[in-house]
């Protein structure tokens, strides 16, 4: 039982990273119907920015210096997202979505490479105050960082959902995602909606990247985690915010449980089967529900 709970705790911590990333994907998808493959790069850039900022803000007592760095880093990547949307994505509005998706792949490659140059040769610590410390919760060893990740994610999700529910801009974004032309006719600036969605996705990816880097540090391969959010959004449905959060946590839990038990029960699946378990779950769900668990079914008109 302890092993199980420990796996669940780790899974929820890791799942919060996927949930944040998945939210970013879904926000962009809802605004422009495009899957942005640039999220992994934003994630790497965010973690890197935070690591430099945390170093600069060492004077501020822990853990507040790190949180300040996290906020500043997220803002920085949001601005980066804004800039890229404005210069590269905006001119492409109206082109086939697949072309834009491939452009984001190009962005991903360029941003990641620039980030790699700053990482350097060694593994770069992200500067978080928790390291690998863990606390004992009723006999279960839970890593401190996982608790912080989970709490922060829950807070961020709450803020996001109330933003979409109550704020003017949030409502505008929902309206635009429902029907762009009608929204335009109602006086909503679709351009602002695009820009905001890219900035939000950038900030969320930055937080996710930083969380992912706690524990082991920033390595050039950190971005691969960003692709794990893809099964999460497909699970939840490409255009469902709630689905993204649920999908993210599901992927985290599945991975953690598979990593814990598969070695004993199904060793023939291979040693690191947990890494791809999310994709297997994704395929299984899609066989039953082609638009994910919570996605909207597209109505085809000729």
């Amino acid at each position: 039982m302890t092993t199980f709970l420990q796996a669940v705790a780790g899974g929820l911590g890791q799942g919060s990273v996927y949930a944040l990333l998945a939210l970013g994907f879904v926000i962009i998808y809802k605004s422009m119907r495009v899957v942005s493959f640039a999220q992994p790069a934003f994630m790497l850039a965010g973690a890197l920015a935070v690591s430099f900022l945390a170093e600069a803000l060492l004077g501020i007592p822990s853990p507040w210096g790190f949180f300040l760095a996290l906020v500043l880093g997220a803002v920085g990547v949001a601005l980066l997202g804004l800039g890229i949307e404005r210069t590269v994505i905006r001119p492409m509005v109206g082109k086939p979505v697949f072309v834009i998706a491939i452009i984001t792949l190009g962005i991903d490659i360029v941003v990641r490479l620039v980030a790699n140059i700053f990482i350097g040769l060694d593994v770069r610590p992200v500067g978080d105050p928790w390291g690998l410390n863990s606390i004992n919760l009723g006999g279960v060893q839970v890593q401190e960082r996982h608790i912080v990740m989970l709490v922060t994610t829950v807070l961020l999700v709450a803020v996001l959902f109330s933003f979409f529910k109550y704020s003017r801009l949030g409502l505008a974004m929902r309206a635009a995602s429902f029907n762009q032309e009608t929204a335009l006719a109602q006086g909503i600036s679709v351009g602002t909606v695009f820009a905001t969605s890219w900035a939000m996705a950038g900030a969320l990816a930055a937080v996710a990247g930083t969380f992912q880097a706690t524990g082991a540090g920033i390595d050039q391969n950190l971005w691969i985690i960003g692709l794990k959010a893809l099964p999460a959004i497909i699970l939840g449905g490409l255009d469902s915010l709630g689905g993204a959060v649920i999908g993210g946590f599901t992927v985290g839990l599945v991975e953690s449980l598979v990593a814990t038990y598969q070695g004993d029960f199904a060793p023939w699946l291979g040693q690191n089967f947990s890494v791809v378990s999310a994709y297997v779950v994704m395929l299984l769900v899609l066989l039953v529900r082609p638009y994910g668990l919570f996605g909207t079914k597209e109505v085809e008109r000729v």
Partner: protein, 383 residues
């Protein structure tokens, strides 16, 4: 393709004028494989040049690269069939390349080693087997594609790459395991090793000529396919699948066909590519490889065979070309480890190239060619 039609076409073609490249005097002519005189001349000249000057005028090192590019071009044509012509976005090409590479490696491998080998080194045999096995895998995957649309399909095929990667890493008897790999397919014909230096030709020359001949065959076949009934059905599915269904094109059937043919091409390309490279490592069949093929198609120009070939050659040469950059542009460091060194630049170029091409020239290298041609066509009034 009856004898009767071909004679009628050739009489019409003889009436064609020089300098009017897009003047078609009949529907039959429009449908021909090389539908204009300049195209006929240009293609023949290019193939002649590639078959005579290149293998004897260029150093082996470049032939090796060209051979890789030509093998990759077969794969790019395959991806173009499913993505450019039939409109099914696939990020899973690396998976089918891998199946081809491993089928061929296993068939041609030496028996009794650490990795599976059957000792069947006769090239046409393992090449065909590689294509068929990959093609069957494509047909198996295709039903998913008929259920899914657009980006869902892209992400699922991406999932395929990750699952494949896992299987190839774990199946050590076949692949040698990650970080180790195994010997690639052994290209042998009539008792002659094509990748080893012989009395007359070097290994690189032989491999280059082999890939060239095969590419010509595969390209002709693809061009024939897309100008036939099947090709038009692909385009109908791509442009509006429901409309296609309504006018009697079986969407499922053609999607499955497109995936099958595309995977057959990918399998053959994978086998050939790794016969040229000499070593297969499971980690190389990752997302980046898929992206490289997508880049070949997009940079070359989606929906054109010649574009795929140009794109494949360009992407394959890119790392090598950036290595030459420091000699031309002194501010670029030739030091591999430098931040703006050649190695990093090559990767940045990929990214920038994809972005810039899609923004400014969505028709790719093929589009640039069209522009150049139009410029000279309209000369002296080209503005």
């Amino acid at each position: 393709m009856t004898e009767q039609r071909s004679t009628s076409v050739s009489t019409k073609a003889s009436r064609q004028l020089w300098g009017r490249p897009e003047l078609y005097t009949s529907y039959g002519q429009n449908l021909r494989m090389l539908n204009t005189r300049p195209k006929q001349v240009a293609v023949v000249a290019m193939v002649l040049l590639a078959a005579t000057y290149v293998p004897f005028g260029l150093p082996d090192e470049w032939l090796h690269l060209f051979a890789m590019g030509l093998a990759a071009a077969i794969g790019a044509i395959g991806l173009n069939i499913v993505t450019g012509y039939a409109g099914q976005v696939s990020l899973g090409h690396a998976f089918f390349l891998a199946i081809g590479a491993y089928t061929a490696s296993a068939l041609s491998g030496e028996p009794g080693r650490r990795t599976i080998g059957f000792g069947i080194t006769f090239l046409p045999l393992w090449l065909l087997a590689a294509g068929v096995v990959a093609g069957v895998a494509g047909v198996i995957v295709a039903p998913l594609a008929t259920r899914l649309r657009g980006l869902y399909l892209a992400i699922v095929t991406l999932g395929l790459v990750f699952l494949g990667l896992h299987i190839f890493k774990e199946w050590k008897a076949l692949t040698g395991g990650p970080g180790v790999g195994r010997q690639g397919p052994v290209p042998e014909m009539f008792g002659q090793r094509l990748d080893r230096n012989g009395d007359l030709l070097t290994g690189d020359q032989k491999m280059y000529l082999l890939t060239l001949v095969l590419l010509v065959i595969f390209a002709v076949f693809a061009r024939n396919l897309v100008r036939s009934k099947v090709g038009r059905a692909f385009a109908a599915v791509r442009d509006r699948d429901i409309a296609a269904d309504v006018i009697g094109v079986s969407v499922t059937r053609y999607k499955v066909l497109a995936f099958g043919i595309s995977s057959f091409y990918a399998g053959c390309a994978g086998a050939l590519l790794y016969a040229v490279l000499g070593r297969v490592e499971p980690d190389s069949f990752n997302l980046l490889l898929s992206i490289q093929f997508v880049a070949m198609v997009l940079i070359g120009g989606a929906g054109t065979i010649s574009g795929s070939i140009m794109g494949a050659l360009f992407i394959t040469m890119l790392p090598r070309l950036t290595q030459e950059l420091p000699t031309v542009l002194p501010f670029i460091s030739s030091d591999v480890t430098a931040p703006l060194g050649a190695a990093n630049l090559a990767i940045i170029f990929y990214g920038l190239m994809i972005i810039l091409f899609l923004i400014f020239e969505p028709r790719g290298l093929f589009g640039i060619w069209i522009r150049i041609r139009n410029y000279f066509k309209a000369w002296p009034f080209s503005y």
